[in-house]
Symmetry: D2
């Protein structure tokens, strides 16, 4: 008999919907509460997947009938909600980033470290089975010592202007996933160099932001890590990793929905364009993320990244921002 | 609110376990009865997935609390069980083949045609999403008129001697899947030519059977279809289809669990060996097969192949057997 | 100091031009004579690549200044020219087929066997470096015992009606290359089964010919060989081989001029269409063919196929023709 | 009748041998002089490919019977030899780098700009047909505006200690090729950021050099270019380019000698390891390089890079060296 884990979902936007779907798909999770100040959205979600409805997260934490919460509300609310979850003794899965302001994150750091319940971060890519297999094989020494890591990450299309304006900039919003993936392989990063450019967007120049960046990280043992980002890609969502070591290379390319290849008069061995965006590409990873969170909630060993991982990614993003402005490499200390 | 479909599972061998897993995985299916004359196996399955237990299929059909049955018992029992299910007015999903003796199948044919409930066949490959995508794109005219179809199907390792002895021979046991896949694209086959050989097995020569066969089918509009089978393959389960048409070619190759490619001192761009066998390769297809059967049970449009498809595959297998012995092409009429 | 081999080229059509180019490209071959009854063509070729001109092959053989001849004239002239070359003691490379009539080939057989000079056949595909590598690795036991061979060969577009009318039919004109490739791996073929269809051509039905065929050969040790041919392919020249053995599989796919892959909005990982036809696909193979012929001329070990290989391919083509008409497998004896 | 171009080859080391082979392979080039102070090497080369022998380059330039020289002697001699060739009015193809000291290069710059004969640089990769195809398709707008370029370049194994000690460091010796390839696509580079590490070599730490570097360049229109280098790679010579534009991506991967793929018990779809090193990978490119140089010598339009390209690559290497030491981005002006 599986023990049901009753989940309170805080935030029902795009990513909240993903979590609702995962909760519905798993046999041992129940959507107990749906919370959103935009109450119609909460009600629609509850109508589809079940659960009680409220506009106030405090109701969820106080109800006494939730075993865990998923924090998928706007970034500015994350710190307070994590803090409240810790106070309530309720495990929390919080979407990235913890906050756009490292000072606010650091103010919560000690409390998070001392929390009696798991506080985990929603870095979904760590749960992709291809990336997981890659990481495990690198860790198992299949390519000897890891020397270089190459991460390519391009979104299919630029986000709307309103989103970009409050995103915290490309490093804190988009590259932050790649910083975490870099740390999935090499947790201890010591230096950040970043260059940025605005080459196609009509929006980001006005924000002082970039739409194209290249970052070089250095690991504690002199590993070099390259991250390439673009806010658009004509061919779809581009998500690739290469790990180069003293004895070989391991590579994960893009994934397709079907394996059908087409040979025609204009081109051969063509695949249909890549999966459109993260909802499709990481659909299975989001479910695995929830499975691992449930393990943590139930006190079992879990692969979920924690608060410190969320903080580290933000520290790297801040360093990249600084480096991109000054042109200088920035030393970082994640300890 | 989803309507639960209560299923009686008859037979709890290897394939029965697959169905039990699928029933457990779907939200709208319940394992209501588990039936196996080897009662300990039925009990183990019920302990894991739920359901009442019996050694007698008649109990399942008479209980009044099942909405459908899955017939996964030995081939020799299929005809009687289908007949009994029709009598009981209970939809049935029957594993292939219907029987090894076409006379017994034909004796049931009229009754099956007049059945008031859906009788569908377990040709799992039709539900693989890659093959489904391929078939739909061919049907949509993406490569013009279909002219040639190439089906490669090799098992990873030979089945045990006891299995082979009662399998009905390679054409009725193994190629039967490929005959059905051929008919998935071209339902109306008019001619069968087959050549067989025994090149590695220590078992099949004693059975007068083959371990290596090549078959050429002809469709009603002079399409040519090649099927290549081997009872073993050092690199794993080999399942590929190519559809060649007047305007191009569509191809589905083998699938891998992870997309990680390895580059090392001995070889480059290597993938891990293919998924071991049908349980892994078609795990998702078995679930889709059940989803489509449930649709049929609920009176919705369904892609499930029916009794006539099961009969046609056996007619083709018999023709292949005859052709392989005489060396002559055999005309068939599937109508 | 390399010894120049002075070559007389008989026939300056499409394939004759290929040989002229190869002679010009090699440092140790000289185009000494150019012969064509269509004298303007001979003159144009000589103007470009050098050599004396004549309309009469007898002039070439009698001149005393040629070390070898290449017979690239119409098929009907091959037998007489080979015979004359043997009489003159001049090594000959003859294009396939030797003749369309096996009786005429057999009439020359004893003389060819007793010839004091090398008589080699122009089966260019044996010299493709990919196919050569494949054959050598199979021969070296890399995949254990060879059990199944799969040859796919599709022309980009149907030949003109005039060509087809005198081609001898698809088996003697097109499949003959695949018969030879089959024998490159398995020289001793014992049985031929063939099915043919006319599915797109407006020409071949009037000729009683096919545009789509599938052939199954059996080797002396029960190896099975599948050949699939089509007279057209929207995506270009399709030339693939798979060798399946007890310990694995080796595969050669189609070749492209450049390795550039394109990722766009409509498709990803696309290559430019395949090399158009045999002149492009086998350009390098034709040069290697000449290199091996020169070795034979100079008395060195050579990989060139001989008269018996040319005869064997025609025997198999005749058997395929018969099988395709009667529907029965045809036993052959190539000894 | 082709006009023979008589070439004097100065330097007969590893790269000199490559040029001798190319001269021998082309029909319109003759090896007229072979020059090396190590006279036995010159004599061996002349014995194989022809030509008069001398230890003194002045003999070659003064002989009056050479139409062009190839300067393949040690780097320290390049500036003087280019200068002398200009004085003698003899076209020169000089191996990279022009010199390790930009001051010496700049001292020659004006003279080179005013030279009456072509002075071209041996950046062989520009002549690889895959890279050429890629560059032409980018230039033709196939992927819209070029936004990001990713160059991966790893040597199969570290060079000997003696070579490394006088190489000028990884940026001037190895990355210099990638700087030129970057400029093949984007001639006007304005900024260089570089990070280096010594992760495996037992030699380079003692030299203050790196064995692993990542460089980010910025083009004049804010294009970003990533270069990844390693002095070793277990799987062979790694030479890849990706061009990302507003409308798609074009990619060239590594090349293999044969297209045979192996499927076995340990791995599937494996290729033999990549071509070992530049002599194999760029054998054809070296011939094309010579063809283009010959065109320049004969006054025809030529794709050969010139003195300014050689200088620009060194300027970028110097900037990378500086950036790797200071951690700061370095602005460059190549005009």
């Amino acid at each position: 008999m599986t023990q049901q884990v009753r989940i309170g979902l805080i935030g029902t936007g795009r990513i909240g919907q993903v979590h609702a779907l995962s909760i519905d798909a798993l046999k041992n999770t129940t959507l107990q509460w749906v919370c959103d100040p935009f109450i119609e959205s909460a009600e629609r979600t509850a109508a589809q997947f079940g659960g009680r409805v409220t506009a106030d997260p405090a109701d969820v934490l106080a109800a006494g009938d939730v075993d865990a919460v998923i924090i998928a509300s706007p970034t500015a609310t994350h710190v307070d909600l994590i803090s409240a979850a810790i106070d309530a003794g309720i495990p929390a899965l919080c979407e990235k980033p913890i906050d756009l302001d490292i000072a606010r994150v650091d103010a919560l750091r000690e409390k998070a470290a001392g929390a009696s319940v798991p506080i985990v971060l929603g870095f979904n890519r760590r749960f992709d089975r291809h990336f997981t297999d890659l990481q495990q094989r690198v860790a198992a020494g299949e390519i000897g010592r890891l020397e270089q890591l190459t991460i390519t990450s391009r979104d299919p299309a630029e986000s709307p202007a309103a989103y970009l304006a409050t995103s915290g900039g490309i490093f804190r919003d988009m590259t932050i996933h790649d910083f975490d993936i870099a740390r999935f392989f090499l947790p201890d990063i010591v230096e950040v160099t970043a260059r940025g450019a605005a080459v196609f967007s009509e929006i980001v120049p006005g924000l002082g932001d970039y739409d194209s960046v290249m970052v070089v990280l250095r690991g504690a043992n002199d590993e070099l890590i390259s991250i390439t980002n673009s806010r658009h890609a004509a061919y779809g969502y581009d998500q690739r990793i290469e790990a180069f070591g003293s004895e070989g290379l391991l590579q994960v390319g893009n994934q397709t929905d079907t394996a059908v290849r087409h040979w025609g008069a204009d081109a051969v061995e063509s695949l249909a364009p890549y999966q459109n965006f993260f909802l499709e590409r990481y659909a299975e990873a989001y479910r695995s993320e929830l499975v691992e969170f449930v393990k943590a909630v139930q006190g079992e060993p879990s692969r979920s990244p924690g608060f410190e991982d969320g903080r580290a990614a933000l520290v790297l993003a801040d360093a990249a921002e600084l480096s991109s402005r000054t042109g200088a490499a920035v030393a970082v200390d994640l300890s």
